[in-house]
Amino acid sequence: MSLWVDKYRPRALDDLHYHTDLSARLKSLAASGDFPHMLFYGPSGAGKKTRISATLRAIFGNGVEKIKIDQRVFVTPTKRKLDVNVVQSNFHIELTPSDVGNYDRVVIQEILKEIAGTQQIDLNAKQRFKVVIINEADSLSRDAQAALRRTMEKYMSNMRLVLCANSTSKLIAPIKSRCLLVRVAAPSPDEMHAVLAHVAKKEKFDLPQSAAEQIVADANGNMRKAILVLEALKMQSPDLTGDLKIAKPDWETYCHKVADMIVAEQTPTQVLAVRAKFYELLSHCIPPTVIIKTVAERVVERVDGALKADVMHWAAVYEMRMRLGSKKIFHLEAWVVKVMTLHKHFMYDIDLSEFA
């Protein structure tokens, strides 16, 4: 039995619940022989992947659903071996090159050359090209992006690229100008309600309005999260009535605890305690950006209005430094100390202008 998220994932472009004009466009593109390189971007859980696979289906038919998972080995010029998992069918191949970090360029070049070098063997295929789907395109290194740029033009005759990214900011301009940009916005609350109702109907139960509203508010535009939560709630209390509690992930409550500590007391001992908590979070593989954002959001709720903008400002500054630097904990801690100082000075009403 599969999860509801997968079970009720729309398969065809016509089944998609929202962004109908986008679906219509994709459909007309898939029908015409002239299919450009594409770049799908939008927040997570908005339905980028669903749209990509639906588009593929519209191009090649049901054959794309026969997929196999492969582990490929690539050898870098320095003789290092890289293992990459790829998902492929007869018509497309899907990979996440950013998994291999700095060596993504090698993977991109090798795999694209391989795909581009072989023509479509299936004579019944509707199109002559194969499709390469690249996930997390925004975390590709500059080198890899530059390598893409040339290959995109060179091998246009038997290959099309579909890039999937959260934002276009980190992609270089030459790539953007070679792709058709497709923005997939997060669904609006109404659209999310409709999807939840659809899932409930298929599972043959009634979804109370109150529960649906709670789920939608919690998911914040992330459809995947909303459906997962719905399934979890259904397991907890089959009738979905009464006092529902959407379980927050552990790390979130933990982050909130950290925020409360920062606001409660501003002393060196407290910094040490916070530091221990940060280490705990980091060792559980919570990305530091997520940590700083969650904590900052919570802190902002607790402090005085005059401080809010500053707290966010410094969160932004230290988050950037975190990306540039290598030791995440330093910057997390520095931010905590900064917020504590701001808070303390504000409380004791000391003129901050000298320290700012």
């Binding site: 466009r25 459909k27 007309s28 593109l29 029908a31 015409s32 022989g33 002239d34 450009p36 971007y41 939008g42 927040p43 908005a46 530059a146 390598a147 740029r149 040339r150 033009e153 060179k154 005759s157 934002s167 276009t168 900011s169 980190k170 953007k176 100008s177 058709l180 940009l181 923005r183 997939v184 916005a185 997060a186 914040n220 535009g221 950006t289 954002k293 900052a296 902002v300 209005g305 809010k308 903008a309 966010m312 400002h313 969160a315 932004a316 500054v317 988050e319 950037m320 990306r323 540039l324």
Partner: protein
């Protein structure tokens, strides 16, 4: 381009590229240098070389999409004609084959061959076909310093039988010894009229109806880059070709270009306390009517409203860098804002742009920009005039 040329050469008659599937950028590349849009000065100089059949080494520089590559290709075609073109012109795209070894082997080998005897009357017309070859180095600014250094002696040694044409975006990245060996041609961004006439020409040829507003939108989003506007036009027509009654709207163009719609930016600016038309929301201007109108449409921005708005924008999936640049335009080009406020905001924008380039989190930085700008915009005005 180089490879494309080779490809069509190899399997030319067997299955030529379906003209319908060909990018319009290639399809409508100027055939002669007189077709080149809006670079009168350069074209005038080059036309002289056609008659005198002597050519200096050349360095073309200018922003992307202004016709640098098109000009040199058209010139070469006019000089040699289609038959000799392939043996006389070497085009190298530096972005994939850079490095010193390429300069040493490929360029040297090509430069060394003495050109074959001039063949006249290829397709009936006579071409000047001067006794030298042209080596085009595209994207020369991404060649390494060493490769450029290796080039300088080659340029002089083979000056008798070869002419170099370096094409680049940033002339400052070309080392001085190379630049001084070439005559430089600057390509300026295309003005509105030339872009417009070119786009209208293509639209006519392709039998698509494009309203003047759409053309304006194309020009505005591409900022003088003709290649970009043509690509956008082609994509837009592709999207709407299924049903003939739909025409391309300016909104389609903006969506393709990834531009945030103006209304959304205006709304965002309003949340920060600037009206895109009336200036700061607080009634500090002496114009009473304006102040009255403004006062009841605005509430003073506070943290929650700004944060809510930013969250909404991020959920819509717009790119952070794009939002930033458009908000920048909305604030900096606003006539009603104090220049001091503007300069404060400009600093904020610059900092955020750097952060985004370094890969920082978009939501945090957009929020930071919004908060800080609204702080400056809504700060009490100093009483001095």
């Amino acid at each position: 381009m180089f490879l494309k040329g080779k490809q069509t050469a190899k399997n030319g008659p067997k299955h030529a590229v379906d003209p319908q599937l060909q990018p319009w950028v290639e399809k409508y590349r100027p055939k002669t240098i007189d077709d080149v849009s809006a670079q009168e000065h350069t074209v005038a100089v080059l036309r002289k070389t056609l008659t005198s059949t002597n050519l200096p080494h050349m360095l073309f520089y200018g922003p992307p999409g202004t016709g640098k590559t098109s000009t040199i290709l058209a010139l070469a075609r006019q000089l040699y004609g289609p038959d000799n073109f392939r043996t006389r012109v070497l085009e190298l795209n530096a972005s994939d084959e850079r490095g010193i070894s390429i300069v040493r082997e490929k360029i040297k080998a090509f430069a060394r061959q003495t050109p074959a005897a001039t063949v006249v009357a290829a397709d009936g017309t006579t071409y000047p076909c001067p006794p030298f070859k042209i080596i085009i180095l595209d994207e020369a600014d991404s060649m390494t310093q060493d490769a450029q250094a290796a080039l300088r002696r080659i340029m002089e040694n083979y000056a008798r039988i070869t002419r170099f044409c370096l094409v680049c975006n940033y002339v400052t990245r070309i080392i001085e010894p190379l630049a001084s060996r070439c005559s430089k041609f600057r390509f300026k961004p295309l003005d509105t009229n030339s872009t417009q006439s070119r786009l209208e020409h293509i639209a006519r040829e392709e039998h698509i109806t494009v309203s003047p507003e759409t053309v304006q939108a194309l020009i505005a989003t591409s900022g003088g880059d003709l290649r970009r506007s043509i690509t956008y036009l082609q994509t837009a027509s592709r999207l709407t070709n299924g049903n003939a009654d739909t025409t391309i709207t300016p909104r389609d163009i903006q969506e393709i270009a990834g531009v945030v719609p103006d209304e959304i930016i205006d709304d965002f600016a309003r949340t920060l306390g600037v009206d895109p038309r009336y200036g700061p929301s607080r009634a500090n201007k002496n114009d009473e009517d304006d102040a009255m109108m403004v006062e009841h449409t605005f509430k003073k921005p506070d943290f929650t409203s700004v944060r809510g708005k930013v969250g909404e924008l991020i959920r819509e999936g717009y790119s952070g860098a794009q939002l930033l640049s458009q908000l920048h335009d909305a604030i900096i080009e606003n006539n009603n804002l104090d220049s001091k406020i503007k300069s404060h905001c400009a600093l904020v924008f610059a900092e955020a742009d750097k952060a985004l380039c370094d890969g920082a989190d978009e939501e945090l930085w957009i929020l930071d920009v919004a908060l800080r700008c609204s702080k400056y915009i809504n700060a009490p005005v100093p009483t001095s005039t």
